[in-house]
């Protein structure tokens, strides 16, 4: 080889290296970004907690032991301010919406402030009010020695260094506490996503499989069949935002039969079901085609009918492919956002129900990023959960395929 050819060869090869390197790097960069932002956030309260903050207003009727003294178990940080009379410590922090909040960093188990009862009208009225670390204090109302009601707290434009000493000095009896249990959890969306997956598969899988069987075995190879097949292929390429338009106009009257109205999980599932049909049909048909025709021949030669052959021999043999198709569909549902924004809505729900709107995990990311203050950390945390889900799904496909192949080899 001449030298020039050698160089050319090396250069071309290095291009292939670089291209792969870039692809790999982009993938890794995304993962690193998501994990670095979201990993520290992942704990039980984020995974299973409510998204919406609960505003707590509680009242205290019992007399406190005004001479009690509480000490924290560990030494405090510099910016934590402690109330030794009432057994809690507070720190000024910035929350995710870039607002100042006074966060409880420690609450003693015997703090009298744990004995509050919720005063908000409704089913929770009179129940024990939470007062624990992680909550925010907006204000405390107490009675001083002259019987007057005094209010202290963040809402009075006071820093913890200012209002805690006043509390320590003047308070005889605390009467009211206004605070907030911060939310920032994803449980609602997690549940909504599971409901969405269940309903969508419920509608799309049977229809998809039967349609695939029809196309594979029963339809005559004529113009009509070709037309049906082309339509399905075309549908597979339609952008999902168009499905959402179709969902809110065409499917809307159908869900009113189910008793729902407006944006709801059922509307979202039906829209997703339509979206998934082309993919399911195509994949199932391919899975059916991959079954050796010798099985069908043998079955028919044994005096089985067409449908018996399909359902007793062909379909069971194709089950791996069908299962993969279903899992592909589930991944699609988890990642879908455009089709769901209009049909399921963008209101994050803590207790989703089928007949009302909710957000899936992906849509929650959209909502979090689209507001006044994009909540990057929570969005990344949700991304991690999504990635783990999709990874688990893919692994499941591989494991199940391997197992059912192994069953043959056992």
């Amino acid at each position: 080889m001449t030298r020039i050819r050698k160089i050319k060869d090396t250069v071309m090869q290095s291009f292939t290296w670089i291209a792969s390197g870039i692809s790999a790097w982009v993938l890794v960069a995304i993962l690193v970004f998501i994990f670095s932002n979201g990993w520290k956030l992942l704990d039980r309260s984020v995974l299973f907690g409510d998204y919406h903050a609960k505003n707590i207003v509680s009242g205290f009727s019992d007399e406190h032991d005004v001479n009690a003294t509480f000490t924290p178990p560990e030494p405090l940080e510099d910016d934590e301010v402690i109330s030794t009379r009432f057994g809690f410590a507070v720190r000024d922090e910035i929350d995710k919406e870039k607002n100042h909040v006074h966060t409880l960093t420690w609450v003693d188990d015997h703090s009298p402030l744990r004995n509050g009862k919720i005063t908000t009208a409704g089913p929770t009225q009179g129940k024990p009010a939470p007062f624990k670390a992680g909550m925010n204090i907006n204000k405390l109302i107490f009675i001083d020695s002259s019987g007057e009601e005094i209010t202290v707290g963040r809402l009075k434009q006071q820093s913890p260094q200012e209002w805690i000493p006043i509390l320590e000095r003047d308070a005889r009896q605390i009467t009211e506490f206004h605070g907030k249990e911060p939310g920032g959890g994803m449980r609602g969306s997690l549940v909504a996503t599971l409901m969405l997956i269940g309903l969508s598969l419920l509608f799309s899988v049977p229809i998809g499989i039967f349609a695939a069987i029809y196309l594979y075995a029963i339809a005559k190879q004529n113009r009509l069949t070709m037309f049906v097949r082309s339509s399905i292929e075309l549908l597979a390429g339609v952008p999902s935002i168009i499905f959402s338009m179709m969902g809110i106009t065409l499917i809307f009257p159908i869900i009113q039969l189910f008793g729902a109205s407006g944006q709801s999980i059922i509307l979202g599932s039906l829209t997703m079901a339509v979206l998934l049909l082309p993919v399911l049909i195509r994949q199932t048909e391919e899975a059916l085609r991959s079954v050796p025709s010798s099985y069908a021949q043998a079955s028919l030669a044994l005096g089985a009918t067409q449908t018996e052959t399909l359902f007793r021999v062909v379909l069971p043999s194709a089950r791996n492919g069908i299962f993969s198709a279903c899992l592909l569909a589930v991944s699609r549902i988890i990642g879908e956002s455009a089709a769901l924004i209009f049909t399921m809505g963008t209101a994050i729900q803590d207790s989703p129900s089928v007949g009302s709107g909710a957000t899936s995990l992906a849509v929650q990311i959209y909502v979090l990023m689209g507001g006044e203050n994009p909540n990057f950390e929570l969005a990344s945390a949700i991304s991690i959960v999504i990635l783990i889900l999709v990874l688990a799904l893919n692994l499941t496909v591989k494991v199940v395929s391997a197992l059912s192949d192994k069953k043959g080899k056992a």
Binding site: S294, A298, L302, R312
Partner: protein, 284 residues
């Protein structure tokens, strides 16, 4: 008597090809005799415009092994598939003429194809057990018929496997997947599977061409045993196999039935030069 008419008469007794003649009732009547499994009359088969079988007329004997021989593409497998109407599955296949079985033309629209296939079983060239257990494979046909009783199924499975000379090897592993068996075992399983439906006829399309010599020998022995109970039609590329195990042989060439008669006659005293050329290996 013209030469053609002579030929016709000789074919009736297992002689050479005869000319087309209208004698539907005759064939029908013949097929009802005990010793005739199928009576064919002027069978022509087309794949689109291509004619694969031309004026096939002969009587297939019952309780004997009949071998179809001939070079590739001569139509022997196609004819085999006519007996259980597997050609129906091919889209542009058109058949004319009649094949009588027990007095009824199986090509007529009134015949229940699914039922026909329970009486005329088939074993394929490549062993094709279902990816199910051995038990489920053999029981498949009966289960489709609606048989639910475990006792009945157990008995049918056992007796079929015994007749197929496979029982001893698998009786303790009935739940094992059928694809685990060796090639020869799988083919015997397919035979057992067909037998389970208690057919009259077993069609075999080159059943041993994918197997090693030892497995082949076992199957050939099995075929010789089975002919007591069943009519066997076997398509084979191996003339030695045909010579070993068949009672009657039919030689096909390019869609025509050239010669049909007792195997010994065909191989030792072929009437047609083409037959002789094929047997001596000049072509095919």
């Amino acid at each position: 008597m013209s030469a053609s008419k002579l030929k016709k008469i000789m074919n009736r007794a297992g002689g050479t090809k005869k000319e087309t003649m209208a004698s539907t009732s005759h064939s029908s009547e013949i097929s009802q005799r005990d010793h005739i499994a199928f009576a064919l009359e002027d069978v022509n088969l087309f794949y689109g415009d291509f004619q694969a079988l031309r004026d096939i007329t002969f009587d297939l004997p019952a309780h004997q092994v009949t071998a179809f021989i001939g070079p590739s593409g001569c139509g022997k497998s196609t004819l085999l598939r006519c007996f259980n109407r597997m050609n129906d599955l091919i889209d542009n296949c058109r058949i004319e003429g009649a094949i009588y079985r027990n007095g009824v033309n199986i090509n007529s629209d009134s015949v229940d194809v699914v039922d026909l296939r329970t009486h005329v079983g088939m074993v394929f060239q490549q062993p094709n057990p279902f990816p199910k257990s051995i038990y489920d494979n053999v029981a498949y046909g009966l289960v489709c018929q609606g048989v639910r009783s475990k006792k009945v199924l157990d008995e049918a499975v056992a007796s079929s496997l015994k007749k197929a000379a496979l029982w001893d090897e698998v009786k303790d592993h009935l739940r094992r997947d059928a694809t685990q068996l060796s090639g020869g075992q799988q083919q015997r399983l397919c035979i057992a599977r067909a037998i389970a439906l208690q057919p009259d006829v077993i069609l075999m399309d080159e059943p041993t061409s994918a197997l090693d010599p030892i497995a082949t020998a076992r199957i050939e022995d099995l075929i010789t045993q089975l002919k007591e109970e069943y009519t066997i039609v076997i398509v084979t590329h191996s003339m030695s196999q045909a010579a070993r195990i068949s009672d009657k042989t039919a030689f096909f060439l390019l869609g025509d039935l050239i010669e049909f008669g007792p195997t010994d006659d065909i191989f030792q005293n072929p009437r047609d030069t083409r037959t002789e050329d094929y047997i001596t290996g000049k072509f095919g």
